[in-house]
């Protein structure tokens, strides 16, 4: 008999929420460390991928909080190396995706990750308004969000010279549709809450 997922346990354990939302079972992980051994970002992460799963397995609230506040979840590149080698087929990138949105929802985003979140946000807001990626808009937005005003000054001019930067945004015809997609998702989320 597996444990019933009721509202109470849901509030308590991140592990169960992940199971419900993504279908991934944290308990499958037997802590072999193979994911971490192959992770290109392990050196940069504050919690290594296998330790992160171990922390979730314990159901200790302090550790769950640490996970949501970690830089790890933002550094993960979704390169899928871990998943493709995990003997237990734990889909870590999928779990990372979940943890990122949960971390944002709980306002627990790691300070060091603010650049990354800012980049993702700028990216999506460009997509929302243009329908496609508009590099200049993106970088401008990103810089405004992060104050990394000097970043990429050495690349941008060459990009422009090589014909790699478009000056005009690549507007698509039905831009409003894209914006509506964003809005409907937001509505749905509000409803689910």
């Amino acid at each position: 008999m597996h444990t019933e997922l009721n509202a109470e346990t849901l509030n308590l354990n991140l592990k169960h929420k992940i199971k419900k939302d993504t279908g991934e079972d944290i308990m499958l992980c037997y802590q072999c460390g193979k994911c971490t051994a192959g992770c290109p970002l392990n050196d940069e992460m504050d919690i290594s991928p296998n330790q992160l799963l171990r922390m979730l397995q314990t159901e200790i609230p302090d550790l769950e909080e640490k996970v949501l506040k970690s830089s790890t979840i933002w550094l993960c590149l979704s390169c899928e190396t871990c998943f493709s080698r995990c003997p237990k087929e734990v889909d870590l990138p999928k779990i990372m995706d979940y943890l990122r949105s949960e971390s944002m929802r709980q306002n627990s985003v790691n300070k060091k990750a603010s650049d990354i979140v800012a980049f993702h946000r700028s990216f999506l807001s460009t997509v929302k308004s243009v329908g496609r990626l508009y590099e200049i808009g993106l970088i401008a937005g990103y810089k405004a969000r992060t104050f990394h005003l000097l970043q990429d000054v050495n690349v941008a001019p060459t990009m422009l010279l090589n014909g790699k930067l478009k000056i005009k945004p690549p507007l698509i015809k039905n831009r409003s549709e894209i914006a509506k997609i964003f809005d409907r998702i937001k509505e749905l989320e509000e409803k689910e809450k």
Binding site: N42, N50, Q51, E89
Partner: protein
């Protein structure tokens, strides 16, 4: 007309205190078909038994119901009593008034009433009982042992030494199995060949053992005590009765570059070969797939010219022989995964990543390097060696969930042997858990760590790649907060998973035995019948059931041998006749029954017309195999199968007896 006798037992106070036994006997008298009824203090006592015997004779009873304790306790007693009084023992039934009534209910009218109903059920049943006779089958006291590894060798010797004949069938040119390939063996580090070779010779010389090497089972028919096995003797192309084993042929054979199976592919052998110097028999065979004579239509023939005894016989054909055996022991062992199984470790393309078995050959004094640990690529002695445990095992993603059980131990052994041979070298073992449950096993592993300073790192290796002649092994130490561990190794040994033989499934089908999801043969019960299969008369031993080490293989082999000897200690087998039978007239030949019988007891029988043409096929139950579970009975849609002792009519009568006179109002 039935004349049933009912004997109600008080069991002292056990039944008597709760159930009004006299009343039950009185009621029983009025049940239709009951000719005699009586209650008594202790039915199983001598006077009680005499009482029954006399009543049977005096009242000419055609059936008996003893209303007493559980049939699981005294059914044999009372059946014997019936037999002694001249009544067929299967015409005696017991009603369980003690365990199912007096002990579980309070003294009450309803309890007595229930007791009477229980009696009535059995009276109705016994009226429909028929005389049955125990099934007797003769036993052929010869055992067939399939596979000549250490498990097969031990089994054959144990059976042969208890005075019975053994036929051993080994598919390769020599017996010995994996153990003959090992260097030294844990947990004692004694030399494998030294302890194995004498036993191999004993097998060859034992008067009770007939050995067929280069042979395989073709088919097996029959049942316990009475199997017929057809064995295929593959053409050896050498007449072993004249060959003197001089070895001239192998030395001169121009084909030399065939990967040597015995050396796990690390060396080469000629087309005419003896697999290893201590082989039994120590005479060559020609590997026809690689011999020029057979590949190129009679060219070469050098061996024939050179052989001093004229033993070479290219014209030999595969031969088939049929033997009668009473029992079969399957000891076909296991296989191990190769290095190409591991994408993340280079798909087998790096020469210096080897399997444990290859390491055994490197460490063996009779191996390709004469016992020096040298890496395959350039023959250098590795200064930094890495062992990886659970390579493929405990890895559901690779389809193997189980622990292979032996690798923890042999990797510790390897690391130790390496350190003993290369004192300056560095040995690391990547592991997840160290499974060393066995007598002196844990001590063995600790010795590797404490005395030989083998570096055990807890973690699975993510990837190995080659760089400037080194193998870069990337792991982490999970005991150090997943600290990255990157080793530049000269050689890597994978403790690859032990798996079932590739042909195990087809062998199981020939033998009609079952196998598990990993294709290892299935034992009848994991705890209580670990050396038997579900097919009576077929036993298992060794690594064909699951990867296991030598001590376990040998214990199981002796266990299987003792099962065989116990079987052979009887001239005839007697079995309960409570088995199923088919009504040929109504059977429609759907063979649904065949698919559910756990003992494969149901065969097809051809019904033929006078002219010999087949009219139809019907089911036929082999009384030697049927265990009487009744699954087929319930399944047959045309109700063409019935079962002695639990026939349709009998169970029906039992149920109906409860309601025809709903609640026995006449009490």
């Amino acid at each position: 007309m039935s004349r049933i006798g009912v004997f109600v037992c008080h069991c002292g106070e056990n039944i008597g205190a709760t159930v009004d036994c006299a009343e039950v006997a009185k009621m029983a008298k009025d049940f239709p078909g009951v000719a005699f009824s009586i209650d008594y203090k202790y039915m199983c006592s001598d006077p009680g038994q005499t009482l029954i015997k006399e009543a049977i004779k005096e009242h000419n009873l055609t059936g008996v119901v003893v209303a007493a304790c559980s049939p699981r306790m005294h059914e044999p007693t009372f059946r014997k009593v019936a037999a002694e009084a001249g009544l067929n023992p299967y015409l005696c039934e017991m009603a369980n008034l003690r365990e199912h009534c007096s002990w579980v209910h309070y003294k009450d009218k309803s309890t007595t009433l229930k007791a009477a109903e229980l009696v009535r059920m059995l009276v109705e049943k016994v009226k429909l009982n028929t005389p049955l006779y125990p099934i007797k089958v003769p036993v052929t006291k010869t055992a067939l042992v399939i596979g000549g590894g250490i498990a097969g060798i031990q089994t054959a010797l144990d059976i042969a030494n208890s005075g019975h004949k053994v036929i051993m069938v080994e598919k390769s040119p020599s017996i010995g199995g994996h153990m003959s390939q090992l260097s030294e063996t844990f947990p004692t580090l004694d030399c494998s060949q030294c302890i194995l070779t004498p036993r191999m010779v004993e097998v060859a010389q034992h008067p009770n053992i007939t050995l067929y090497t280069y042979a395989e089972l073709e088919s097996l028919d029959g049942f316990i005590g009475n199997f017929k096995a057809t064995i295929k003797l593959k053409a050896k192309s050498v007449d072993h009765s004249v060959c003197n084993g001089c070895g001239e042929c192998s030395a001169k054979c121009p084909i030399k570059k065939i990967p040597d199976e015995f050396n796990a592919g690390l060396g080469t052998r000629p087309a005419i070969y003896v697999p290893f110097p201590q082989a039994v028999p120590n005479k060559p065979v020609i590997d026809r797939d690689n011999c020029t004579y057979f590949r190129k239509n009679g060219k070469c023939g050098l061996c024939e010219k050179i052989c001093p005894t004229k033993a070479i016989d290219f014209s030999q054909k595969d031969e088939f022989i049929t033997v009668d055996v009473g029992a079969v022991v399957v000891t076909t062992g296991f296989d191990i995964k190769g290095t190409d199984f591991f994408p993340e470790y280079g798909y087998g393309k790096y020469k210096d990543i080897i399997t444990g078995l290859q390491f055994e050959r490197l460490a063996s004094a009779s191996g390709p390097t004469l016992g020096e640990i040298r890496r395959p690529s350039d023959g250098k002695i590795p200064q930094n060696i890495v062992f990886i445990s659970c390579a493929g095992s405990r890895d559901p993603a690779k389809g193997i969930d189980y622990c292979s059980k032996i690798c923890c131990m042999y990797l510790a052994k390897h690391a130790m042997l390496y350190k003993h041979k290369v004192h300056s070298g560095k040995a690391s073992v990547f592991y997840m858990d160290i499974r060393a449950g066995g007598k002196t096993y844990e001590e063995f592993v600790r010795r590797a760590i404490e005395e030989d300073e083998v570096n055990y790192v807890r973690g699975r290796v993510s990837r190995i790649y080659e760089k400037d002649g080194k193998l870069i092994v990337k792991g982490v130490d999970t005991l150090l907060n997943s600290y990255p561990v990157e080793i530049e190794a000269d050689m890597v040994v994978l403790g690859t998973a032990g798996i079932a033989n590739p042909e195990s499934e087809s062998l199981a089908q020939k033998l009609h035995i079952s196998y598990d999801q990993y294709h290892f043969f299935a034992e009848a019960h994991p705890k209580l019948r670990p050396v038997e299969t579900n097919t009576a008369g077929i036993m298992l031993a060794g690594a064909c059931q699951f990867p296991k080490d030598i001590p376990d293989s040998v214990s199981q082999a002796s266990g299987a041998a003792s099962k065989v000897s116990a079987l052979f200690s009887q001239n005839e087998l007697t079995r309960d006749p409570l088995i199923a039978f088919v009504n040929k007239n109504t059977c429609v030949g759907c063979f649904m029954c065949q698919s559910v019988c756990p003992y494969l007891a149901i065969e097809k029988e051809k019904i033929k017309a006078k002219d010999g043409s087949v009219i139809r096929e019907v089911a036929k139950i082999n009384p030697g195999l049927c265990q009487g579970c009744g699954t087929c009975v319930a399944l047959c849609r045309s109700k063409s199968i019935d079962i002695n002792g639990y026939s349709h009519k009998q169970v029906y009568a039992e149920v109906m007896s409860l309601f025809n006179e709903r609640s026995l109002e006449y009490v």
